[in-house]
């Protein structure tokens, strides 16, 4: 396989990682919790979308919007019922609660929809894009991959602008930095947290609906993607949204190339490179070092 194609495949794969990483980064930025439930939130929302599309025969845009609304509500409920109480303990408590949440979501999806692998309707259909590099060779990028990449980049810009310029976005950063000080400045900390989880889950829903056509729909569909997304987010710097895209795409490319050259050591190679990067830049590629007060 030509290198160009390997890299294009890597970018397609990496945009899935980047998209999943957004939710993780967003929740980490707003609530300081490293969530293990993001993949499962995405999977559950994808199942909701599937039900709307397949059982109720709704058109894709309607199902898409309804699923987003559902995810927004689900995220807010998760924050209100679980995370708000869990965050009173150590930070590890919150992490374990997200693991419990992941188990509950996987179990419920399996209970309601079963464990068989289902096809998920493709939101875009059409011939793949071909790039002619030489008279005998074309590089192929499917339309779905192109759409995922475009959505990833647009979401990154939107979220970046949201955190940089909007009042709510700035409030979210303030809450993550210092809860007490934020409250003293008049920020409704609880509502901001609930919003953070809601938006995080909605991002997960977008992810789920775009990944399900590629990976098919089943309760454990996000397992590997979620781990790689997390790795991508950390590689880029866990608080940085452009970092999540850079990290995710880079990891996708490494995955694709290493998977072709040495499939049996694919993950090992990816993580060895990661460790080297992190030892040189301990806060990720685009992250900035935390300044600690003593």
């Amino acid at each position: 396989m030509p290198w160009g194609q390997l890299i294009i495949n890597g970018i397609a794969l990496g945009s899935l990682y980047a998209l999943t990483a957004f939710g993780i980064v967003l929740i980490y930025k707003t609530t300081d919790v490293l969530t293990f439930g993001q993949g499962e939130l995405a999977m559950f929302s994808a199942f909701i979308a599937f039900t709307l599309l397949d059982r109720l025969k709704l058109p894709f845009p309607v199902a898409f919007v309804l699923t987003l609304v559902f995810a927004l509500g689900l995220g807010a409920v998760v924050e209100r019922v679980l995370m708000r109480r869990a965050q009173q303990g150590s930070i590890l408590n919150s992490i374990i609660v997200t693991i419990g949440l992941a188990l509950v979501l996987v179990g419920m999806a399996g209970f309601i929809w079963g464990y068989e692998v289902r096809p998920f309707p493709d939101p875009v259909t059409g011939p793949p894009f071909l790039f002619r590099v030489s008279p005998t060779q074309n590089l192929v990028l499917t339309q779905l991959s192109a759409v995922i990449l475009a959505v990833t980049l647009v979401l990154m810009l939107l979220l970046f602008a949201f955190f940089r310029f909007s009042l709510v976005g700035i409030a979210m950063r303030a809450v993550a930095q210092n809860r007490v000080a934020a409250r003293l400045m008049g920020i409704p900390v609880d509502r901001i947290n609930a919003l953070g989880w809601g938006v995080g889950a909605a991002l997960g829903a977008v992810t789920g609906m775009l990944i399900a056509p590629t990976n098919s729909l089943f309760p454990n569909m996000m397992g590997d993607v979620a781990i790689k997304a997390y790795a991508g987010a950390v590689l880029g710097g866990i608080t940085s949204l452009p970092g999540a895209v850079v990290g995710g795409l880079l990891l996708g490319i490494i995955d694709s190339v290493a998977g072709f050259q040495a499939p049996e050591l694919r993950t090992t190679i990816a993580f060895t490179l990661l460790v080297i990067v992190l030892v040189i830049r301990p806060a990720g590629l685009l992250g900035r070092r935390e300044i600690k007060k003593v």
């Binding site: 710097g237 460790v275 301990p282």
Partner: protein, 338 residues
């Protein structure tokens, strides 16, 4: 101050009761003694890993999502040493621990520069890589098929083939390692761990050698997992890369948080609790009728335990357990990248 081996009569009673477990189980009619003892052995082996992990996370404040990797190294070391090289089990057991400790020391080196999610990722990658390396070196490790028919554990020529004999072996090891952990925690090493956990900068200012104690914490924690791996290999007598997934690492983490961070007894309680729970749920009359509904209940119990016992099960019933400090406000991030 000298402390007696068992400072509280309660813990002595507990040890005595545990020693009498196999004959007591035999008295109760209708339970499969062999299977229950096998599960108890497994739970105690996981408890050994949890003890080591709690030293690392609960005391030294360093994160790990890769302890299944250490368990795998211990298990494969012991299996290869006894099966391929004919080592006696009694020598392979400590050797597995020491080899794993050496790997733990190496993994501790990047930890000198990393913290929080970054350290978690490195350890996660370690945990993911070990099974791949096992598959890659198939001629030594048996590859995907794993290693079968491992020699049974034998102590001074006595083969421990029955579950109850093996139970006593695991039991002795865990008592020794618990006492060791308790002593480490109360020694200057333990105090250095706690100082690093509470504030690295302050600890360094007080003269705590970060390099030395962070790598010590990783090596010590890995030693526990390595010993546990050896016991695991000779309990099941079959190991394959699939037994050491990231899920297992996450389970170890869950055990110590549910049991109680920074608590020696909590590690054991958490391991027993989390090994028993799915077994019980999978057998409950209502739950077992619906496929995999017990996963939902398991997740829910996990969540409820954390919500209602934020200091873990050990913290809930024992006032003696040293309280973990209240959660610090997340460190200020004045110059956050957007």
């Amino acid at each position: 101050m000298r402390q007696s081996l068992f400072p509280h009569p309660k813990s002595l009673l507990l040890v005595l009761a545990a020693a009498l477990l196999p004959p007591l189980l035999g008295v109760i009619p209708g339970i499969p003694v062999g299977y229950v003892l096998y599960l108890v052995c497994l739970a105690l082996i996981y408890a050994i890993v949890a003890l080591g992990l709690n030293l690392l996370i609960g005391y030294a404040g360093q994160f790990s999502l890769g302890h299944a990797g250490f368990l795998a190294i211990g298990a494969y070391a012991s299996a290869v040493l006894t099966q391929r090289f004919g080592w006696p089990f009694l020598l392979a057991l400590p050797m597995a621990g020491l080899l794993t400790a050496a790997v733990g020391f190496l993994l501790g080196l990047p930890a000198l520069r990393l913290s929080g999610p970054y350290l978690a990722l490195v350890t996660l990658g370690f945990g993911l890589s070990i099974p791949q390396l096992v598959l890659w070196r198939g001629e030594l490790t048996g590859g995907a098929g794993g290693l079968r028919d491992l020699p049974p554990a034998s102590v001074l020529g006595l083969e421990l083939r029955s579950e109850s004999a093996y139970y006593y072996l695991v039991f002795l090891v865990i008592v020794a390692l618990t006492l060791f952990a308790r002593n480490v925690v109360q020694s200057h090493t333990g105090r250095a761990f706690i100082a690093i956990r509470d504030s690295e900068i302050a600890a360094q200012a007080m003269g705590v050698n970060l390099t030395r104690y962070k790598t010590t914490a990783f090596a010590l924690s890995a030693f526990y997992a390595g010993v546990a791996g050896s016991l695991y290999a000779h309990l099941i007598r079959f190991i394959s890369p699939e037994s050491f997934t990231v899920i297992l690492s996450v389970e170890f983490l869950t055990m110590i948080v549910v049991g109680g961070l920074g608590s020696v007894s909590g590690s054991i309680v958490g391991a027993l609790f989390l090994t028993a729970l799915p077994e019980v749920f999978a057998r409950l009359p209502v739950l077992k009728d619906f496929k995999n509904l017990f996963i939902v209940v398991f997740g829910a119990v996990l969540i409820l335990t954390i919500l209602f016992f934020p200091r873990g099960l050990a913290g809930a019933w024992s006032t003696r357990t040293r309280p973990i400090p209240p959660p610090a406000e997340p460190a200020a991030r004045p110059q956050e990248a957007v």
